[in-house]
Amino acid sequence: MKYLILGATSGLGRELAYSLAKKKNNLVIISRDERDLKAIKEDLEIQYKIPVQYFELNLSSFEKIQDFFNANPNIINEIDGILMPVGMTIKKDEITNNLEDTNAIIQANLGSIIYFVSKFIPIFIKKNKGTIVGFGSISGMLGRERNVVYASAKRALESFFESLAISTFSTKINTQFYVVGYLDTNLSYGEKTLLPKSSAKKLANIVYNNFNKNYKKIYYPYWWLYINILFKIIPFYFLKIIYKLTNKKINEK
């Protein structure tokens, strides 16, 4: 099998690449810096003896993604599954963001994924098989002061994957969506979090074990499911109070 991983050089993407390589799957890895990609490719090929292709690609640029597909038209036919653990944040993602930043964040976290899916899904439908895995974030559960556009993009992505699941309901295409809490990756490095960070490696194994199963939306770690339910049933006014209290606690920490 051959899988394509977006954002494969760090955090969850890197763990997924190693998890799939250990199971002897061929890989196509995509990320922003060729040096990181080359290092991972060499390591995977030497250690696991699998062929790895890599492409340097900035997912926050729509034109560059278009160029990538124009330059590599055959890649769509070769891939059995796509995994998109993409997470791009900027230092100051607030309600006052400028248009350039806003577009870049939306493009990287939402637009690029929708575009990749739109390219692969016709082939998967034709083959009546394929795996598509997306990753949301618990930051999309509730409005917030920081990472505003990032959270919005992640919430929109959740909706997109629900639509994708409905659209592929009658096929054998495996669609998975994970709402991910704090992970022990660089995205949350140095952040003081109220709840503990979970292992990206463990999540990578869960993702692999869920290949070829029916549509799943999984909260990782699981307790975020209950927090999400709470958020949905508590009136927004109370949530505002909780938010203020927890935010104060984080700042004090």
Binding site: S10, R14, D33, A39, E42, D43, I46, N186, Y189, G190
Partner: protein
């Protein structure tokens, strides 16, 4: 974003609040290095001393740079990123019956740390230090950027970087020339000796290709003739071409420190008595030994260090010439009789090489001892430093967190040359640690 963290050196003697960043991308490493005035690189943080951190300064942790970048089995060449740990490297190379023979005592030490400390290992009488296996090093320096270092390209920086305590920049990758290892089994011979003098005689007459080290008892009541009775362990690579697969070492170790120190003269005496008599009378004096047992003597025996408690211990490791060792030991014995220090471990082995800059290597006898950290023992150690100067001893700077600038300057003849060369390369002295500040490097 940097994380504020309290980090303690392996010997528990230095605990500082630092800023730390785990980088996993090359761009990130460049940006973070450029964003601060001073920094130092951190591998596994297994150095006895604070070599990878400094108070309120940035430590860039490169543990995610742990990939194998190149491997040629025929040419026996491997290039690895500096964050890879010794055991991870061996888990791979031993599958191909290859290794680097200069392996430090703990498997979790990073390759970058090993190069920056110019580590040796039990095989140092024959194979010397890790310097002898290095073909190429790639570093990143805040101002100089990416540099390739080898005997032809940037040779002077190459020389400064090996054993240079990470002060020339962040070591990113290292290329090694590997050696063949025909068997993963060792035959260990244990021989008892009546004194340190007898140990030295044995070391002098032994076959350097085997891994030989001693374990000596510092019995406070002993006379000069029986001072340092003990055991000599000789590990010989089994000639039987065995296909038994190397048992992979997994990363499971966690540092647990006892709240109080449990090593004192009574417990040391009891332990020494049991250990000596077990090997002399119960265990066979010739037995099969596994690779990890021989190469990593402290792996899964970390409790030895934990028993020192939060106050920790001091390890002093020195190189002394064969001509001077007997006089030195005589004076050492006098100091031991006077101060009655709690010495938990005393060991000798042979070392080969040529001393240069800050590197701990020479054609000398290597003597190692651990002592409990307390006021009395520190006085004892300070007296020993005078002997180190008197007998032209080279003390290891990455082992002894008590070592002062004066002793270091007098014992390391090339300390000033190193300082000058480093200053020429990096006039702003960007890369600094508690260790480099303490020794004014």
């Amino acid at each position: 974003m940097f994380e504020k963290k309290k980090i303690t050196s392996f010997d528990q003697n230095c605990s500082l609040e630092i800023f730390i960043k785990n980088c996993d991308k090359y761009k990130e490493l460049e940006n973070d290095s450029r964003s601060v005035e001073n920094l130092i690189t951190m591998g596994s943080c297994y150095s006895y001393v604070a070599a990878s951190f400094k108070e309120r300064s940035l430590s860039i942790n490169i543990k995610k740079f742990n990939r194998i970048l190149f491997f040629d089995k025929e040419k026996k060449i491997i290039t690895v990123e500096a964050g890879i740990k010794i055991f991870e490297l061996l888990n791979f190379t031993l599958k191909h019956n290859l290794w680097i023979p200069q392996i430090p005592g703990h498997p979790f030490i990073s390759i970058g740390g090993a190069v920056a400390s110019n580590v040796h290992g039990k095989s140092c009488a024959f194979y010397g230090t890790i310097k002898n296996s290095i073909e190429n090093i790639k570093i990143f320096h805040k101002y100089h950027g990416w540099l390739n270092l080898n005997s032809e390209e940037n040779n002077n920086i190459f020389d400064l970087t090996i054993g240079g305590l990470g002060l020339t920049g962040t070591i990113i990758s290292v290329t090694f020339k590997l050696q063949e290892l025909n068997s993963l089994n060792f035959l260990t011979t244990v021989k008892s000796v009546k004194s340190i003098s007898q140990t030295i005689d044995f070391l002098e007459s032994s076959d350097d290709e085997n891994l030989i080290y001693s374990w000596n008892v510092i019995d406070l009541a002993s006379d000069v003739n029986s001072f340092g009775k003990g055991l000599i362990f000789e590990n010989k690579i089994s000639q039987k071409n065995n296909l038994e697969f190397y048992k992979k070492i997994e990363c499971t170790s966690k540092k647990i420190i006892f709240p109080i120190n449990l090593w004192n003269n009574l417990t040391i005496k009891c332990f020494n008595y049991l250990f000596y008599n077990y090997h002399k009378y119960i265990k066979k004096n010739l037995y099969k030994d596994s690779f990890s047992n021989v190469v990593f003597p402290f792996y899964n025996k970390e409790i030895y260090f934990s028993l020192f408690g939060h106050k920790g211990f001091i390890e002093s490791q020195i190189l002394i010439s064969k001509e001077k060792i007997h006089d030195f030991l005589e004076e050492l014995k006098k100091n031991i009789d006077y101060y009655q220090p709690s010495i938990t471990l005393f060991s000798l082995k042979k070392m080969s090489g040529e001393q240069k800059y800050l590197r701990f290597e020479d054609n000398k006898i290597c003597l190692t001892f651990n002592i409990v950290k307390n006021k009395k023992n520190t006085h004892f150690l300070n007296e020993l430093y005078k002997l180190y100067i008197k007998y032209n001893v080279i003390p290891s700077i990455i082992k002894d967190s008590n070592l002062d600038k004066e002793t270091f300057n007098k014992c390391y003849k090339e300390a000033d040359i190193f300082r000058e060369e480093l200053k020429k390369f990096d006039p702003k002295r960007i890369y600094r640690s508690e260790l480099s500040d303490r020794l004014n490097i």
